[in-house]
């Protein structure tokens, strides 16, 4: 085969990666931006989303699309509820102290992994895609489902942008992010905004996981890579910046896809992680963010 087909395949795979990554990272970025909480358990919300998607699709009989639709509704709702409960029971009691919340979310990470191991088991399980046909591209046929993941992610990102930039909810969130005390003075229920944002961030990760699980199997340790990649994306894109997050997700998703096709995936990860650590050291506002005022 020539170079062309390889590159096209790598680009498409990279785009699918980037689409899912953008959603996951956006959740992490929102939580950090508004609450200043580094949620180390974010990857486990992703994992929980995937595991629940498996549970929903196996519980619903009939056409795979029915089960998948159920998963798209049930999984984010349950994950959102779990996140809400942990925010109320743990993070709020810690008064959102940065160090304490990191330790607490590490604990949460292990608890969720243990829960998945106990109730779901150590196996990796596949989920049937809702539809299964191939679209003929110049050199090869490509899964229509994978292309639809890219489309769905774009729609969800636009919806999130709309909520953040054009609705009252978004306005309240941005006000809280900008200055917590002034927001409180203006009668914004900061406490409830925090709870909502934490749940929303987890739900974004869960939706991303439902979308990816027909391609990648559900497993109780699958949260590690999304967490690390989301960190990378959020750091490169600049914290709390939607545009930066999407651009960085594209950059990381594509380069991860392309590098993994041509080089060893471990080497690709080493280079990406090291690069990001150095970005954080030398340019803490991210590549696209503005310097702190």
């Amino acid at each position: 085969m020539d170079f062309g087909p390889y590159l096209l395949l790598a680009t498409l795979e990279g785009l699918v990666q980037a689409a899912v990554l953008a959603l996951t990272a956006l959740g992490l970025s929102l939580v950090f931006g508004v609450m200043r909480v580094v949620n180390v358990a974010h990857g486990e919300f992703f994992m929980l989303g995937a595991v629940l998607a498996w549970a929903a699709t196996t519980a619903v009989s009939g056409h795979p699309a029915l089960g998948f639709a159920a998963a798209l509704v049930v999984s984010p709702l349950v994950v959102g509820a779990v996140a809400l409960a942990s925010e109320r029971l743990i993070l709020r009691r810690l008064n959102y102290n940065p160090e304490a919340t990191i330790v607490a979310t590490i604990g949460l990470l292990y608890i969720l992994q243990q829960a998945a191991l106990t109730f779901y088991g150590p196996e990796a399980r596949p989920v049937v895609p809702p539809f299964n046909f191939r679209i003929q591209l110049p050199w090869f046929g490509y899964s229509a489902y994978k292309l639809s993941v890219i489309g769905a992610s774009i729609l969800l990102l636009i919806a999130t942008w709309f909520v953040l930039a054009r609705t009252r909810i978004g306005l309240v969130m941005r006000a809280t992010q900008y200055d917590r005390e002034t927001a409180t003075a203006f009668g914004i229920p900061v406490d409830r905004v925090y709870a909502g944002v934490f749940a929303l961030g987890a739900m974004l990760a869960a939706v991303a996981a439902v979308l990816i699980v027909p391609i990648q199997q559900a497993h109780y340790l699958m949260g590690h890579d999304p967490l690390l990649l989301s960190f990378i994306v959020v750091i490169i894109g600049g914290l709390g910046s939607l545009r930066g997050t999407v651009v960085a997700a594209l950059l990381i998703g594509l380069s991860d896809g392309i590098l993994s096709v041509f080089f060893s995936p471990t080497l690709a990860k080493i280079v990406a992680t090291l690069a990001v650590a150095l970005v954080l050291v030398f340019r803490p506002q991210g590549l696209f963010g503005q310097a702190a005022k």
Binding site: R36, V38, I90, R93, L94, P98, E99, A100, I102, V103, A104, I106, G107, L108, L109, Y110, I111, L112, Q113, Q114, A115, L117, T118, G121, P122, H224, L228, F231, I235, S264, T266, L267, K269, I270, T273, L274, V276, A277, L278, L280, V281, F282, P284
Partner: protein, 325 residues
């Protein structure tokens, strides 16, 4: 705080703990004898972590890389180059000191949350490197050292009693070293940085240099634990470089009490037995729950940070023994 007048009391307590550990080796049954030897080596790791987290107030999420630097620095030189045990131990120390100096120079440019994430990222890179060089390290599977390679002069490190004794000797050295450091001017400056870095700088201290010193000291002590682990127990693998081994010292220090000299030992001992006992208990009662260290560590972390943030010795110091270093 503890002045020089309370010095003898603290010194007596720590010497007493060392004497107790020495006496224990003659009475402990074989199984617990092995566990305590392992706990002492891991407590050295926790003491190294405590120097940075407890005393200097810098929360690192990548300390597994320093432990692994010692582990591989000692293990690989014995395995591939046939070095003797003392040379390999020094090699582990040098690897740890060099790595922590580089990481410190880079990571200390950041502060707060960024410091935690940067150290986590560097830790992840170190872990991936141990996998990438699998040809030499054998990745997750790891390598074992032959008995003939684990001889320290006349001492046979494969013998459980000798191993216990060597682990205790190293533990005692690091414990007393920590005690000296935290009461020395250097240790006081570190605590001052933790409490108020800006003010410490105003007083004329070079806070960057002091923090760098803390990172290198902490990294080297952790590397000593790693090197000792490889040489005493004869096994080293990539699992010790994984993120889990960056979280565990944090947990051990939190359980025992951050910024207490004996806290790391207490925390490591408690968590080791807690995981061991509750594993047996839960798995016999609920065999299909698949309980592993995950759930226990997770619950312990959350409960500690919510209800018991000072840890065991930290709370004791607050209530009854303000002289406790």
């Amino acid at each position: 705080m503890s002045g020089s007048a309370t010095g003898p009391r603290a010194l007596a307590l720590h010497l007493g703990v060392i004497a107790l550990l020495f006496a224990l080796q003659f009475v402990l049954p074989a199984y617990h004898h092995g566990i305590v030897a392992r706990v002492m080596v891991l407590a050295i790791f926790a003491m190294g972590y405590n120097l940075l987290f407890g005393y200097t107030g810098l929360l690192s999420l990548g300390h597994a890389m320093f432990f692994a630097a010692g582990l591989y620095g000692a293990g690989l030189t014995v395995y591939h180059l046939g070095w003797s045990v003392p040379a390999a131990f020094v090699s582990g120390l040098v690897c740890g000191a060099a790595l922590s100096a580089v990481i410190g120079l880079l990571a200390l440019r950041t502060a707060g949350v960024a410091f935690m994430i940067v150290t986590m990222m560097f830790g992840q890179v170190a872990y991936l490197l141990t996998l990438f060089f699998g040809e030499w390290t054998r990745g997750e599977e790891g390598l074992t050292l032959a008995a003939a390679q684990r001889q320290l002069g006349p001492l046979d490190l494969t013998n459980p009693s000798t191993r216990y004794f060597v682990a205790l000797a190293l533990f005692a050295v690091v414990l007393l070293l920590t005690l000296v450091i935290v009461r020395a001017p250097f240790g006081r400056v570190l605590v001052a940085i933790r409490e108020n870095e800006e003010r410490t700088r105003m007083l004329g201290y070079d806070t960057f240099l002091n923090k760098l010193g803390a990172v290198v000291l902490s990294g080297t002590v952790c590397a000593a634990a790693g090197a000792a682990y490889a040489l005493l127990f004869g096994y080293f693998g990539a699992g010790f470089a994984a993120v889990q081994y960056s979280i565990l010292p944090l947990l051990w220090v939190l359980v025992g009490g951050a910024a207490t000299v004996l806290g790391p030992l207490v925390g490591t001992l408690i968590m080791f037995y807690l995981v061991d006992l509750s594993n047996d208990l839960l798995n016999s009662r609920f065999p299909d729950w698949d309980v592993s260290y995950l759930g226990i560590v997770g619950v312990a972390l959350v409960l500690l940070i919510l209800f018991f943030p000072k840890g065991l010795l930290g709370s004791i110091r607050e209530r009854w023994a303000p002289w406790l270093p």
